[in-house]
Amino acid sequence: MEVTLVGLAGPLIKGILLGGLYVVIALGLSLVFGVMKLINVGHGDLVILGSYFALAAMTWLGMDPFLSLVIGLPLFFGLGFLVQKFIINRTFRISLDAALIATFGISIIVQGLVQARFTAFGMSLATDYRLLTFDVGAVTIPLRYLLDFIGGLAVMIALREFLRRTYLGRAISAASQNEPVAERMGINPNRVYSFAFAIAMACAAVAGVLQGLTFSFQPTSGPPFLIISFGVIILGGLGSMAGTFIGGMIFGLTQTLGAYLSGGSMLVQAIAPYLLVFVVLSIRPQGIFGR
């Protein structure tokens, strides 16, 4: 296949737009990782849980996936708060390994739960606008990719402004920068952690809706998204929302450009992002933009 500028425009635009999805998925993980230095191994599964929640709201209540977030956001927020309060805060004080294993337990529970309720078959959020496309010049772009990008941008900006402008947001930033000092300033770390995890779960609910519109999903779809979002964080560097945004774009581009330059090889498309993360991890574990 000949590489031309026109031919390259499609994968470029798609990669950037798709990157928006990865940004939303990664933001929740980034927040928890930034505050507690803990990787929530169950994050990918929580995103998939969000997809299934939207599916349930759609099939049982006939709600649009985006509208279902009106219920989904507070539900996931509350659930996250409780999980952090009763499980992770406790194990976190024992050791990092214990907390890691606890989040692993959450991952299996979520997988088992959705598999028991929705079977192991692939599902998708079949809305009527899911398969619409529009043209930009010679390039045809699926509408759902644009929604991903808008969603990614919106969540990133909302989270960034929240962390900068509100009291709680500043408390979270403070605890992530230096916990003992933050505690001396009257911030209760456990409470801050609970809110951080709750917000991360709410992000997962949004990510679940976008993910469900973009790809089909099954109970075991979660772990790949964990690795993708970890890759996005590593590429973008910790604690920087804008960095995560750039990381998401790079990640989306790796996937689409890798597939395009290799002549549509499924193998390259499947492996390229993982290899990118692995290489970056082994060369600069703190991330490209990290300190």
Binding site: K37, L38, I39, V41, I87, R90, T91, I94, S95, L96, D97, A98, L100, I101, A102, F104, G105, I106, S107, I108, I109, Q111, G112, L113, Q115, A116, A120, P219, P223, P224, L226, I227, F230, M266, L267, A270, I271, Y274, L275, V277, F278, V279, L281, S282, I283, P285
Partner: protein, 326 residues
């Protein structure tokens, strides 16, 4: 003549009794349960060596198991007997560990965990498309059957698994009492202090990583002799990570008896919950959470805390004293 210690004698006796099981006509279902138990035990022991004694939260046992299984399966397709394939599989797993050791040991703590978690995903994707021998067949992805194992009885695989499990216990026992074990524990407790005390961190970590990869590969290949069909989704399934991890955490990480207790519980749960499909995953997850929150040291830690070992220990010592006197 030096009298062997009573604990040594007891473990040898247990081993002999277990080895006699297929001969004395124990029901086949029992052999099946015990086979599974031995495989999990070997995996859990090696995971314990990495996580409990070296401080490496290694999330890639399924990479070793899958690679060994594929080596075995592909080997039988090009005429390698499965006995040689078993060793070759373990060797390939260890070779893989050697190749990845340089990049992954640059990562510390949580980064190491995620870095190792990526590898099986890469391998799974790779084996989905890579098919060196034989024609692709429909609907199975890049699956292979293991050829030439039709004559292998359950008794044979049982002995094989027993040998691997016993070797894994013995190996950990030896390592812990050698210089290697001392160095590994020093690394686990504080890597920087260990390094400044003259412990060669990279070499020691590598030794334990290679040993673990080899034994995990051996256990994996033995499993695929028992169940002679491998696919990317089955060979690199996360269960191969989950089972040893759960067994070690439930039993007690960083103790020699922990993986044995844990592997027994995990095996029991697996057969008990076999009919419940997805619910079994859910229940295992809940058990894992409860154990981590309520007794982070696992069952072995709990037993130690309540002093459950003191009475049998006294009993053993008294008995040994009497034998010596006589």
């Amino acid at each position: 003549m030096k009298i062997p210690r009573l604990t040594t004698l007891a473990s040898v006796a247990v081993l002999v009794v277990l080895a006699l099981f297929p001969v004395i006509g124990v029901p086949l279902s029992w052999l099946n349960y015990l086979f599974t138990f031995f495989i999990y035990l070997a995996l859990a022991n090696m995971w314990n060596l990495l996580a409990g004694y070296t401080g490496l939260i290694c999330l890639c046992p399924h990479a070793f198991v899958g690679l060994a299984g594929y080596t075995l399966a592909i080997g039988t397709w090009v005429g390698v007997p499965f006995q040689a394939g078993l060793i070759a599989g373990a060797a390939v797993a260890a070779l893989f560990a050697l190749i990845i050791s340089y990049p992954v040991f640059r990562m510390k703590g949580i980064y190491f965990a995620i870095g190792t978690l990526i590898l099986p995903e890469v391998l799974k994707a790779w084996f989905n498309f890579w098919r060196p021998v034989g024609n692709a067949y429909q609907g199975m992805g890049a699956g292979y059957s293991v050829k030439g194992v039709a004559g292998v009885t359950l008794g044979d695989t049982y002995w094989l698994a027993l040998a691997i499990a016993a070797a894994s216990i013995f190996l950990v026992h030896i390592i812990l009492r050698a210089r290697l074990g001392l160095g590994l524990k020093a690394i686990r407790d504080n890597e920087n202090t260990a390094a400044s005390s003259g412990v060669n961190i990279f070499r020691l970590k590598l030794s334990s990583f290679l040993i673990a990869a080899f034994i995990m590969g051996l256990a994996g290949a033995a499993y695929f002799i028992f169940s002679p069909r491998i696919q990317p989704t089955g060979g690199f399934t996360i269960s191969w990570l989950l089972l040893p991890l759960m067994a070690t955490v439930i039993g007690g990480e960083g103790s020699e008896e922990g993986p044995i207790i844990g592997a027994a519980i995990v095996t029991f749960l697996r057969f008990l919950l076999a009919d419940y499909g997805a619910w079994s995953l859910l229940i295992q997850g809940i058990i894992l959470l409860v154990v981590v929150v309520v007794m982070p040291q696992g069952i072995a830690g709990l037993l130690r805390q309540v002093g459950a070992y003191r009475f049998p220990q006294k009993l053993f010592q008294a008995a040994e004293g009497k034998i010596r006197k006589a």
